[in-house]
């Protein structure tokens, strides 16, 4: 059998193509690179979904944030509402790949690639994101914990397309941050990553969400770390206890990017930095989003 390629113009066309066995491609930044690296050959039958109408919207409302599956990292980090209210997500999208990756790579592709080292995963988990999966026969919405089942694995059926990612509106007093250990500023994924989201009221932590990246088979939240912060005055001891709990939950692997021992040691450092930055932001202080707004690779107008 020889490979085939179609370019879908409507969602129905795209769903019909995946129902008949084609695999979707949007920005190509994972699919094609993965094939070059020998992770998986390119699919025999490919349907390009990057021209499908209606999947590119980025909508902020009182209810929350809806990201169409084709929203790029460049779109995310250039959006003032996301930078202001979903700051950890902007932190992550700002450092995904390079300007080219951010211009072409989509949030839907990023989520469905299900890498335990993906940068946006931790922020999406901490913001309690849900994904909507559509097939020719129906639609369902599930949380990311239910979607990600292992490294590179999801619970989505082959005929389902991710069409949108929804994040509920954060509470007043929220601050959030994503930080990663990296060897290079661009074309990098996390060696170790940590996300913190805190909600402060009268100086006390009333809600906290901590997740760890590249430290477990799927990116996950760490309830023990969150419990160490909630109810505290966000003092140094509570931050340290939370960071230590985050590191304790790590079950890292050794690979070319770092040893398990190194990753475990750095987990606490990254978690502490993420929590500190989230607290500073929740208090109204400034911790800049990485890189500068002018270099996000925004598309030509």
């Amino acid at each position: 059998m020889s490979p085939s390629f179609t370019s879908a113009m409507t969602l129905d066309d795209a769903l019909a193509a995946v129902a008949s066995g084609a695999r979707p491609v949007a920005g190509g930044t994972d699919l094609v690179v993965g094939a070059r690296q020998g992770k998986a050959p390119l699919p025999e039958d490919i349907v390009a979904i990057d021209r499908v109408d209606g999947l590119r919207a980025l909508e902020v409302s009182d209810a929350g944030l809806r990201l169409g599956t084709l929203v790029t990292h460049g779109d995310i980090v250039a959006d003032p509402d996301i930078r202001d209210r979903y700051t950890a997500l902007a932190d992550a999208s700002a450092i995904v790949g390079s300007h080219a990756t951010r211009a072409q790579g989509t949030i839907g592709g990023n989520v469905m690639n299900a890498s335990p080292a993906m940068d946006t995963g931790g922020p999406l988990l901490c913001f309690d994101a849900a994904v909507t999966l559509r097939s020719a026969t129906g639609e369902r919405t599930i949380g990311l914990e239910a979607l990600w089942t292992g490294p590179g694995k999801t619970s989505a059926a082959p005929d389902e397309l991710l069409v949108a990612v929804d994040l509920p509106a954060p509470a007043d007093g929220t601050g959030s941050s994503y930080v990663r250990l990296e060897y290079r500023r661009q074309m990098e994924i996390a060696v170790v990553g940590a996300t913190a989201l805190v909600v402060l009221r009268d100086g006390n932590v009333i809600d906290a969400r901590i997740s760890i990246t590249a430290l477990t088979p799927t990116i996950r939240r760490v309830p023990e770390a969150e419990a160490a912060l909630v109810g505290s005055g966000a003092d140094a001891d509570a931050v340290k206890a939370a960071a230590r709990a985050a590191a304790t939950a790590a079950t890292p692997i050794s690979d070319v990017r770092g040893s398990a021992e190194y990753r475990r040691a750095m987990a606490e450092v990254m978690a502490r930095r993420a929590i500190a930055a989230a607290l500073t932001r929740a208090r109204g202080g400034s911790v800049p989003i990485p890189a500068s707004p002018a270099t996000y690779g925004a598309k030509e107008s």
Binding site: S2, P3, S4, F5, S7, V25, G27, G28, T29, V32, V33, A35, R36, Q37, L42, I46, A48, D50, R51, G74, G97, S98, H99, A100, T101, A103, Q104, R184, R185, Q186, M187, A291, S292, A294, T295, Y296, G297, A298, K299, E300
Partner: protein, 174 residues
């Protein structure tokens, strides 16, 4: 099975027949004969293959050629316009931003994208804007200076005799 398609590169339409798995880089180099864009890593790490797709940068080694149908592709060959070399390219030459030259086409494309979104970038913004492009020769300083010079708009013509494109290479002589 190959697919008949039309690629639009630097404003010219090229009818081609493409394997669905062929990358945009391979199509432009091997099918269209535009060999300015380079293959360094074939893995989206080095940026030597950088092109513009409807004005946005893309690692063309990691982009399926058929996805570019109906979009405007710009390669280094399209940067100079009617001139022999454009101001950004002259600045690279004058500031010693070119040494072996292998990264240069990608650097020029990324610098073009950067200057369109940020006409007067700082040192740091240039370094971030070009950090998806690796250079093993220059140490980057000359490249950063070149982008500054291009941004200033003050790029004098090249000195010396113009290089003629119709000079026959020695191994083709006779």
């Amino acid at each position: 099975m190959k697919v008949a398609a039309t690629l639009t590169v630097n404003g010219t339409s090229y009818p081609v027949e493409l394997d669905p798995h062929m990358s945009l880089l391979r199509a432009v180099r091997d099918e269209l004969g535009l060999t300015g864009s380079k293959e360094g890593c074939d893995d989206s790490e080095c940026g030597a293959c950088m092109m513009l797709l409807d004005g946005a940068p893309v690692n063309s080694c990691s982009y399926l050629a058929l996805q570019a149908v109906g979009k405007d592709v710009t390669t280094v060959e399209g940067l100079a316009g009617d001139e022999e070399v454009g101001p950004l390219q002259r600045a690279f030459l004058q500031q010693f931003g070119v040494q072996c030259g292998f990264c240069t086409p990608g650097m020029l494309i990324s610098a073009t994208a950067l200057l369109r979104s940020n006409p007067d970038p700082s040192d740091e913004e240039i370094r971030i804007g070009l950090s998806g492009n690796l250079c093993r020769c220059t140490g980057y300083d000359g490249i950063v200076k070149a982008v500054h010079q291009a941004a200033s708009g003050d790029v004098p013509p090249l000195r010396g005799a113009p290089v003629h494109a119709d000079v026959t290479p020695p191994h083709h002589a006779g």
